[in-house]
């Protein structure tokens, strides 16, 4: 079993996340993983792309954004441009925000699981130990044999219990941050990620999981086709009505055959797309 840990260091926050990644590394090694470690410095995109190779699990401890994970102050090492590399792997991150888009996209492209946060990961120096425990908890549970869904529930529970403990100790700022982190935690491992776009939600409702594969352009095309078809049909019917009223509309017209053919072939093309998508 192989694992990749990416834990760049280039600012104050990343010194802490690097420290936490050491615990993750130890945990993985104790479970018999061969760990490729890209840590303790700025990390380049190419070296991450090369290192992902045939790893089973990719761990990332550092800054992130909705659609990227950073290897230094500016260079993303993983983003929507190379997210395909995560296909077939389990991905564990403690980066801010990446569960919003990168995680969803990784899941769509076949990542076995994506662990991350939908909002900023916040921590305080008066409770570093507790935040470290929380940050690696999901990986710990997974290595103990829990499923990712079970690990998510356990990690959230741990986060909330740590938040209560911190509040008991009078560390209310840390407590609030811990609670926030537990709420922001997400794991996509077969469960549906939340769809933000209304059209996507409609597509998911109609087509199930395949709805994730309907691209934005395809969605616009379907919508455009529907509107154009409606306008053309309405105008054609109106022209017939002017010629002979409703009787003319209700009688057989060659134009109707054209409309029927357009509709049939549009549906057939879409069924073909769905078949391919399911495969």
């Amino acid at each position: 079993m192989k694992a990749l840990i990416v834990a760049p260091v280039f600012d104050e926050a990343t010194r802490h996340s690097y420290d936490w990644s050491r615990l993750a590394k130890t945990m993985l090694e104790e479970e018999g993983y061969l760990v490729h470690d890209l840590s303790g410095r700025g990390v380049g995109r190419r070296e991450v792309e090369e290192a992902v190779g045939d790893t089973d699990i990719v761990c990332f401890f550092d800054h992130g954004d909705e659609d990227r994970l950073f290897g230094d102050r500016s260079e993303p090492v993983l983003d929507l441009g190379n997210v395909d590399l995560l296909s077939g792997r389990e991905v564990y991150t403690m980066a801010c925000l990446s569960a919003r888009r990168l995680g969803v996209e990784a899941w769509r492209r076949g990542a076995k699981a994506y662990w991350g946060y939908e909002d900023s990961f916040i921590f305080t120096t008066d409770a570093v130990e507790e935040f470290r425990e929380f940050a690696v908890s999901g990986l710990r549970y997974r290595l103990q044999g829990k499923s990712w869904s079970e690990a998510l529930e356990l990690a959230r529970k741990l986060g909330r219990s740590l938040a209560d403990k911190l509040a008991d100790e009078g560390k209310i700022i840390a407590s609030s941050c811990m609670h926030h982190d537990a709420d922001a935690l997400r794991c996509y491992d077969g469960g549906e990620p939340p769809a933000r776009c209304l059209l996507r939600r409609i597509a998911l409702k109609i087509f199930g999981r395949v709805g994730w594969l309907v691209s934005r352009l395809r969605g616009v095309c379907i919508l455009g086709f529907g509107v154009g078809y409606g306008i053309a049909l309405h105008d054609y019917a109106h022209a017939l009505w002017q010629v002979g009223g409703y009787r003319e509309i209700l009688s057989f017209q060659g134009g109707y055959l054209g409309f029927a053919l357009m509709l049939i072939f549009f549906i057939l093309e879409f069924i073909d797309f769905l078949r391919m998508a399911r495969r």
Binding site: E12, G170, I172
Partner: protein, 78 residues
């Protein structure tokens, strides 16, 4: 408890903790603040701090009675 009252308690509690541990730090993504800076930012309504820190704090204060009691204890209320 009204929203204004909850906000007043939250700000007071944050200021008290910040005055006790002014140099402790909070990391919000790639930004870092001391507790003292956080208290000042909350006081002046800094939009970033309000969104990322104060709002979640207020939400928890509203929803969790246990947390509210602990915060009230800190600010000296009952």
């Amino acid at each position: 408890m009204r929203d204004e009252e909850i906000a007043r308690i939250a700000v007071a509690a944050i200021k008290i903790e910040a005055s006790r541990k002014p140099d402790e730090r909070i990391y919000i993504g790639d930004r870092v603040f001391t507790f003292l800076e956080i208290a000042e930012a909350v006081d002046r309504g800094d939009p970033f701090i309000v969104e990322k820190f104060l709002q979640p704090f207020l939400e928890r204060l509203k929803k969790s009675e246990a947390f509210r009691m602990k915060v009230l204890k800190l600010v000296g209320g009952t």
